[in-house]
């Protein structure tokens, strides 16, 4: 059974976690196909676009800020450990550096090398090149590890199916920031593993799991917890699918809603509920 992961090359933590979860399920991954080169350098054109999108002031603030403050792993660390960034990072010499545990232990490439997993980078995940690579790997099951919208030419390649894991319970919450929207709407937080079709989060559901986030306290901590759980669920479902122990349940679009990025003012409400030990309606 050839399992292939489709991902972005800079999503180290997420993809390595998925790979580790699959390994724990004794599943061997045939290959990883990654979208190449994140926008590591800001070109002049990108700078102008960013300035147009966000204004000049945040760009200047970003430019003059400490790189450590911009590191998403650092924020995750703080979310989990509750330690102030400066306190966590300042070494005995008084100089800033990143703790080892703030960085993922491994990059995707390192992990792939260690476990003899074939890895290929492509310029565009929807390109014919990407489809050819997937065909070359004789993909049976394609797993999404955090990707943009993938078109039909790619979805047609896997012989069995394509799976994605979603950060909320489907069909109720489709789209973006869905864990936050679940809390805002007083519903249970959870994860859903589903097959991928041409729509956004509309494929048949394979597995749903509710997650207790009462101990999370913040959105960042909640996202870390749900994220870990969703990788485990994806691996578990892949195994059950191979063993033919899962029955897909078609989604009815009308049973849910499509959500979009949440405004900061609403996020504050979500933060407050989490700080007070949000329990949600785990029966819903």
């Amino acid at each position: 059974m050839n399992i292939v992961i489709l991902c972005k090359i800079w999503n180290h933590k997420k993809v390595v976690e998925i790979l580790q979860a699959l390994r724990a399920q004794e599943l061997r991954v045939r290959g990883v196909v990654a979208l190449a080169a994140p926008p590591s350098r800001t070109t002049f054109a990108q700078a102008v676009r960013k300035a147009r999108e966000h204004g000049v002031a945040p760009m200047l603030a970003h430019f003059f800020s400490n790189p450590v403050d911009r590191d998403e792993h650092l924020h995750e660390f703080v979310a989990v450990n509750g330690v102030h960034p400066t306190a966590a990072l300042r070494s005995r010499n008084g100089q800033l550096h990143l703790e080892n545990n703030l960085r993922p232990q491994l990059t995707i490439a390192e992990y792939a090398r260690q476990h003899q997993i074939e890895m290929t980078c492509v310029e565009d995940l929807n390109s014919p090149t990407c489809a050819a690579v997937l065909q070359h790997m004789r993909t049976d099951i394609l797993l999404f590890g955090g990707v943009p919208i993938i078109r039909a030419n790619i979805l047609a390649v896997p012989k069995i199916c394509t799976l994605n894991v979603h950060m909320a319970l489907l069909p109720e919450f489709r789209g973006m920031n869905v864990a936050e929207w679940s809390i805002f709407n007083g519903a249970a937080v959870g994860v859903t593993v589903h097959q991928v079709d041409a729509g956004v989060d509309t494929g048949a559901i394979l597995y749903r799991e509710k997650i207790d986030v009462a101990d999370c306290g913040t959105i960042a901590a909640m996202r870390v917890k749900v994220s870990r759980q969703q990788h485990l669920a994806l691996a578990q479902c892949t195994r059950l699918l191979i063993e033919n122990k899962l029955t897909p349940t078609p989604q009815h679009k009308a049973e849910g809603k499509q959500y979009y990025f949440m405004h900061e003012k609403l996020k504050k409400i979500v933060e407050r509920r989490l700080a007070k030990g949000y329990q949600g309606n785990l029966d819903r």
Partner: protein
């Protein structure tokens, strides 16, 4: 040829814009480099709100007649007072007076209402255009003036406002065609679906007087509009002239007309009302398009694709109001979420520091200022809708806060009991 004409017009507008004035140049440069205020640097909502209201106050004082100047133009400064929009600015000032508990804004609203009485035609109609031109009667403008008169009557109980309102209402009923449309004295002498915004004031008059003829006229037109909605929520005939790609301004008018009419006709269960349902379909389609693209275009085509790269700020503020009202009616927080983003966008274009009283705190017709909708101008209706949107935003967020507090209190009581 048409493209050449458009270019010539744009060039003429640019030359007339008096960009040698520092305040105008500043806005031109800000828009050229898109130096809007970043989201995190925005002031609190009441500061943006009071700046818009102050601008409207200056627009009222510009001519000294009690009416509100139609717009501040880069080319000629303040224009003459405009009956149509003065009409619907009246409720905004009454609401703001209550909002900050300041009687002065109420007095301003009453001065506007008194001025309206002075420009009403003998047959009950109100003129199109601002009062510098000899405006012939206009259906839409009369409807908007009616909104202000009804509100002035409700606030004061003075019969004079009601009588003027009744005459305006009677004229609207008399001008209506048998099929429910208005052609005569309509914009470009043709029927428009955005005249749902005339149905709403007629229904307000009906709610005040219980005179059935106003209800019948409104219902007849509303029923004419419904079949013009397509399955994707799009509304035909909702443009001034260009129905292929109408301004967001008139799309939002149509939605608001449906929404407010439905809310009056079925106050117990507005969401079940057919007009509210129509508004919901269109508003939801617009919301999806906005969120996917991350930008609200100034004009749309029948498939809800934005056809231009500028934003119609008036339409943005109106759409935010529609979404906030829909949140209020449906409690679907997606509407609140998108309205907050759209309000932030308009806030980011509001210049709070400009030395020019004609631009400080006002809202441009378009972003950038040379966009096709009311180019190089600050129309009073943009500031009016923006102020309405912000007041509604504050009200709904306060309600949400109170609800949170109640839930927390209930939760802590349950914990104590257990």
């Amino acid at each position: 040829m048409a493209a050449l004409r458009t270019m010539a017009k744009q060039l003429r507008n640019l030359l007339e814009a008096r960009l040698y004035r520092p305040s105008h140049l500043r806005i031109g440069l800000q828009d050229y480099f898109d130096l809007r205020t970043p989201a995190r640097a925005l002031q609190s909502t009441p500061i943006h709100l009071s700046a818009a209201i102050d601008w409207l106050g200056r627009a009222q004082d510009a001519n000294g007649d009690g009416g509100v100047a139609a717009r501040y133009r880069f080319s000629h400064g303040w224009t003459a007072s405009y009956p149509e929009t003065t009409g619907y600015i009246i409720p905004t000032f009454f609401n703001y007076a209550t909002f900050i508990r300041d009687e002065r804004y109420r007095q301003r609203a009453l001065r506007m209402a008194d001025w309206l009485l002075s420009v009403q035609h003998e047959n009950g109609a109100f003129p199109g255009h601002d009062v510098s031109q000899k405006g012939e009667p206009r259906v839409f403008n009369t409807g908007q003036a009616l909104l202000g008169l009804v509100r002035a009557f409700r606030e004061t109980g003075k019969e004079i406002y009601l009588q003027a309102g009744l005459r305006a209402g009677d004229w609207l009923v008399a001008m209506q065609e048998a099929n429910g449309t208005w052609n005569k004295f309509a914009y470009y002498q043709r029927p428009h679906t955005y005249y749902t915004e005339v149905d709403w004031p007629l229904l307000e008059l009906f709610a005040t007087t219980q005179t059935v003829s106003y209800y019948e006229a409104a219902a007849k037109h509303l029923n004419w509009t419904l079949p013009h909605q397509q399955p994707n929520g799009w509304i035909d005939k909702c443009g001034f002239r260009d129905d292929a790609a109408p301004f967001l301004h008139t799309i939002a008018y149509t939605i608001q007309g449906w929404l407010e009419s439905g809310a009056i006709l079925q106050p117990e269960q507005p969401v079940k009302n057919i007009y509210v349902q129509a508004a919901l379909r269109a508003a939801e389609a617009l919301l999806h398009r906005y969120e996917i693209r991350g930008f609200m275009a100034g004009q749309f085509d029948r498939s809800w694709q934005g056809t231009v790269t500028y934003s119609c700020l008036t339409g943005n503020a109106q759409t935010a109001i529609n979404w906030l009202r829909l949140y209020e009616l449906t409690r679907d927080a997606r509407f609140l979420n998108s309205a907050l983003k759209l309000n932030d966008y308009v806030k980011s274009t509001q210049d709070l520091k400009n030395n020019n009283p004609g631009t400080r705190g006002g809202i441009k017709g378009s972003q950038p200022v040379w966009g096709r909708y009311i180019s190089y101008s600050y129309p009073n209706w943009a500031a009016k809708f923006f102020a309405d949107a912000l007041m509604l935003e504050v009200k709904l967020l306060r309600e949400l806060e109170r609800q949170e507090e109640r839930d927390e209190y209930r939760h802590s009581l349950q914990n104590l009991e257990s």
